[in-house]
């Protein structure tokens, strides 16, 4: 198991943020199932009021393996296409290709 922290940035717009949260209250069962099959566990997303997102996830093997596995899932392709307009991504592209992993500097079980 590997713990991963990553950052993303949703556009700082009240309506965009409200719709983003609404989508995340009703993620499709096939998307959740795909995440599990590719080793995403204890996965939480947190949001600062300006749209800065922090993700915490415990992956079975490596973050890259869990991202690669999802990249071939139809449910994820549909989800990422729906999510793309919500995010600030200077170079474009799917949100799951713009997750910036950050360094763990402390851990206590």
């Amino acid at each position: 198991m590997q713990r991963v922290g990553f950052l993303l940035k949703v556009k700082d717009d009240p309506e965009t943020i409200a719709r983003y949260k609404e989508h995340h209250r009703q993620v499709s069962p096939d998307m959740l199932d795909a995440l599990h099959r590719h080793g995403w566990h204890n996965y939480s997303l947190f949001m600062r009021p300006d749209g800065l997102m922090f993700g915490y996830v415990e992956v079975a093997d490596s973050f890259q393996a869990s991202l690669d596995g999802m990249s071939h899932e139809d449910a994820n392709s549909r989800w990422q296409a729906m999510m793309e307009p919500f995010f600030e991504s200077p170079d474009g592209g799917r949100p799951d290709e713009n997750m910036v992993e950050i360094e763990e500097v402390f851990h206590l079980d």
Copy 2:
């Protein structure tokens, strides 16, 4: 159990950041013991290269109860006094009084 995400900001200075990380590789056993006694579990700190810190912790009861419990621990008072100069805190004060909790918008077990 409650999952908590919070933010802190270490000064954006290479030497400060290096020393912060070094301190976190050798936290005193009495500080770690106090955290456990006050319900801090699966606690990780992540850092962006500019010093933005994200904390993830699973607390036994509530974040406030776990913070309040630590506030009476000598080991924590010593630790917070040592940590204070590392942080950007506009209004001064101990770092553990400046943790900004952010909203969980998604969770998958």
